[in-house]
Amino acid sequence: MLEEPYRWVEAIRNRRDYLEDQLRGASPVVATRYRDGVLLLTTTPGPRKVFEVYNEIAFAAIGHPADIEKLRKAVIDIAHLEGFNLSASDVNLQRLVSFGIGPLVKGAFDEIFRSPFLARVLLAELDPPSGDDVFYTIDADGSFVRAGHVAAVGSEESVAAIAETLRDHAPEASLEDALESALHAWACGRMAGEREEGEEAPGAEQVVDFLKNALTDLNVEAAVLDRSVPTKSKFRLLGEDDLEPVLSAHGKA
């Protein structure tokens, strides 16, 4: 098959279609900046999707849990080896992505006879040395995109809808406001993923109804990298106290 370039291109295209198809049903992850750092939010029926990688780096992914786990372990390994051999301040996202997880995912994608990583990854760094590149999203083919204020992983339609919803998001928002807008963006993204082609974008009321229904069976999982905490590790999973005001506004007991 690989002797013929045309077949190879076809195989790659099939792979892309397969990945997009498999990931379409995933609940997207939304990430934004807020006053004290970075917020990551998603919903899950059970297994965790948002994790700590290093002192100021967080990881979230959609896809197959076993693939997510492999990639998470790979990033944690690289970060800790760097942190040990050099110093904590040498562990940064730009290098982790361009020299670590990016090539790893691309390598698996290129091996036509093996399964690629069925996952899309979002990484966030608190106050990166490079300035504005707070977020990286890594697609299942290993390509990655940088973003400064907001980012998301999900199906193509979900990500586009989330970006549209959060276009005017203020990085100086309080945690509660950021949670509210991330949750709203998540609902828009989720609805866009389920929408048939040609259907119109939902109105504000439909989003509220959708969110209310969705929250009855799903748990909201959110974490922050909070620069105001005194410990070296800035990662914190948000508990009920943090989420309650936002969730109760949407009718979740």
């Binding site: 372990k73 944690i76 800790h80 080896l81 040990f84 051999n85 590790s233």
Partner: protein
């Protein structure tokens, strides 16, 4: 299941510092050494304190060495012996604990931490046997299960022992060990019943006592603004006692 051990990760990648294979030195080697550290249990937890002096034979190498190092949110390690090896061991231990928590999504237990430190010391044994880089740590942690501060110490081979009331190591330790025993037994009330202020005063007086009779232990020097390192380990985690607080105690109750 893949290994969750940071030391394995270092070994696989060839990042583990070489320790074995040190040839017997033709000339006796005098390395840098740290001196007096002590840990005392009081009512709410443990205080761990160390002087700041590092010596090489009869020379003072450094008067601002930190020998009490935080490992994670609820434990500290204090070191006497070779600082080069001790800092490396502390770093490996700190990274092991972090790595475990992040990769396994749960905290490493106190027993797990003690065991890791023991393995690190064991790994250093070939060098220690050559008379280079021996390290004797004290490890203090707040045990959430028993809701009390605990003190552990090690020998060169990595054996772990738990101290009930207090523990001292380093060249000045023999000078204050007897004093601590006396106070604990006949000093009115057991050390474990002291409040924090009393415990703080006690550890600082003990370090001054060690500095008086042991030249390798550095004392309080007002003109150079040098204070011992003191860390508190209690239910709220670890906390480093600030220089201002130490200075007030020295000037008010000790000097």
């Amino acid at each position: 299941m893949e290994s969750c051990d940071f030391l394995d990760l270092l070994r696989e990648g060839g990042h583990m510092p070489e320790s074995a294979g040190v040839a017997p030195a033709e000339h006796s080697f005098e390395g840098t050494e740290g001196t007096t550290i002590l840990a005392v249990r009081y009512r709410d937890g443990v205080l761990v304190a160390g002087d700041r002096r590092a010596t090489m034979g009869n020379l003072v190498v450094y008067d601002r060495a930190d020998k009490v190092l935080s490992i994670d949110d609820d434990s500290v390690m204090a070191i006497s012996g070779s600082p080069a090896i001790a800092y490396e061991i502390a770093r490996m231990l700190e990274m092991s604990v972090q790595y475990y928590r992040r990769s396994q999504l749960q905290k490493l237990s106190l027993d797990g931490k003690l065991r890791t430190l023991s393995r690190l010391l064991r790994q250093n044994l070939p060098m220690a046997m050559q008379g280079v880089g021996a390290v004797i740590p004290i490890y203090a942690a707040f045990d959430e299960r028993d809701a009390m501060g605990k003190i552990f110490f090690y020998d060169l081979l990595g054996a772990t022992f738990e101290s009930v009331d207090f523990c001292t190591t380093g060249s000045g330790s023999s000078i204050i060990r007897g004093a601590l025993y006396y106070l604990n037994r006949w000093g009115g009330a057991p050390l474990a019943e002291m409040d924090e202020a009393a415990a703080l005063e006690l550890v600082m007086k003990m370090l001054e006592t060690a500095a008086e009779y042991d030249t390798a232990t550095g004392g309080y020097r007002e003109n150079a603004h040098i204070f011992p390192t003191v860390m508190r380990v209690d239910a709220s985690g670890i906390h480093s006692i600030g220089e201002d607080e130490l200075e007030a105690i020295f000037q008010g109750r000790i000097a």
